[in-house]
Assembly symmetry: C2
Homo-oligomer: 248 residues x 2
DNA sequence: CTTCGTTGCGAACACTGTACGCACAACGGA
DNA sequence: TCCGTTGTGCGTACAGTGTTCGCAACGAAG
């Protein structure tokens, strides 16, 4: 049995002591979460393991558990950390509809910037809300009450559910595209024949499909933006109706 | 017969041969998917392993790979199998709004019956649509076009995204409740003080929270039903507005 | 009877999340 | 100056995981 790695000195020597060798003075919960997010963004949710994360932090795998109880907890922390990026306009905005739309778009862009968010939300849900997610809800509620909504909670449910559903679906799509290594347009072009054949015997789908095919192959990102905005307008229309019904 | 493993046959003997010992004649993709769904429903997504699934089918783990390329593929198959349970009213329904509402409610009940669905959708998305999910979309499209919508695809986006977002969030919540072993009401009651404290410094959330607290502790399931239905009405209002704008 | 394609599967590989227990730095009091 | 206590890092180990390889056993075909 040959010693394969740096066998720690059986003879205690001054030169063997670590002595401020770390660039990071100590391991830290915040830095762990930050580095986890970097890895998640770069390589996706199934590429993150405690061992890889530890080596990237110049640490041993077991050390992480001094700062984080379990991997799931680390994921919840990462989700809440990322939730801080979502922007919500102040409650006294003159145009509540534009403000809510901006909050929705901000959620979407952060969800697309961190595509793993959908996976975690689908598993852990919003059961234990971290402080940042909480504050996001609070600011949305402030927006809706300032606008005069009788039931701000219901309004939040409608717009937030729509945004979550659309964004996570979109993020999952982008993840599979990224895994393929191709650009989105190339990926679409490659599976176009299969999609056409699959859609062929569904007449109503085929109709809508034919209309959007060109846009999908030329500028898919713009088409996704338009889709998101258009369906969001529908939800906002419903909210406007509720507000008017109360006002009159 | 005590010995069920057919291993000990250094001497080829008639008695050692398996000879129709299986109740299932052969392993089969359909039965694999069915049993996987049973396990997923019973124990959740992280309790399903290829080995456990195989032993439940009186088979070896490696045998499954003769019928299924990978575990992810098995998951996609399970998702599509479950999608067949979703009911959509026929396109010639007199009241399109009631029909869409029924389709939405049917999606929700199947998502709650199979709470793992949210996790898989969050990871795999709707990239490769299986035939059953495809047919669900098609029937929704038929419903919207029959109702006279100018852009059925946009209408589908709005209602489907809302339903996915709400249902998966709800399913994730129910999963964490189930993991706790308690009833939903008990679970809520137990974390009520923590939730109240967390919500205390968010004035707008606290207001809505106070209103729904009693309903949440007495009949949480009914409250969730009501929440889903209420927010769905908002989305449907938005759709109705779109339809009227076209008609006039 | 031989051959062939198909199916089942034991064993192994490369990993995973996490628990245990030791080594060692910092520190406060005697 | 020593001695405990406390908190941190981490080597090692355990119980799993998904998946591959190669072999055995079969039913049908030639």
């Amino acid at each position: 049995m040959a010693a394969k790695t740096t066998k720690p000195s059986p003879i205690p020597s001054v030169w063997a002591r670590p002595q401020r060798e770390q660039d990071q003075p100590t391991l830290n919960r915040a830095t762990i979460v930050r580095e986890a997010i970097v890895m998640l963004d770069a390589e996706g949710v199934e590429a993150l393991s405690m061992r890889k994360l530890a080596t990237r932090l110049n640490a041993g795998a077991a050390s992480l558990y001094r700062h984080v109880a379990t991997k799931d907890e680390l994921m919840e922390l990462a989700v809440d950390e990322v939730a801080a990026e979502i922007h919500v306009p102040p409650a006294d905005s003159p145009d509540w509809r534009a403000a809510v739309s901006e909050a929705a778009h901000s959620f979407r862009t952060t969800a697309l910037r961190h595509p793993w968010l959908g996976s975690v939300l689908g598993q852990a849900g919003l059961a234990y809300l971290g402080p940042n997610l909480m504050s996001y809800s609070e600011r949305l509620a402030a927006l809706f009450t300032a606008a005069g909504f009788p039931d701000p909670t219901g309004a939040i449910d409608a717009v937030l559910s729509y945004v979550i559903g659309m964004s996570t679906t979109e993020a999952a799509w982008l993840s599979t595209v990224a895994r393929s290594g191709e650009s989105e347009a190339d990926f679409i072009a490659r599976l176009l024949p299969a999609a056409q054949q699959a859609v062929a015997e569904h007449e109503h789908l085929a109709k809508g499909y034919a209309e959007t095919e060109e846009a999908a192959t030329t500028d898919p990102a713009a088409m996704r933006d338009a889709k998101f905005a258009a369906a969001l307008e529908i939800v906002l229309d419903g909210l406007t109706l509720r507000l008017k019904a109360t006002g009159s």
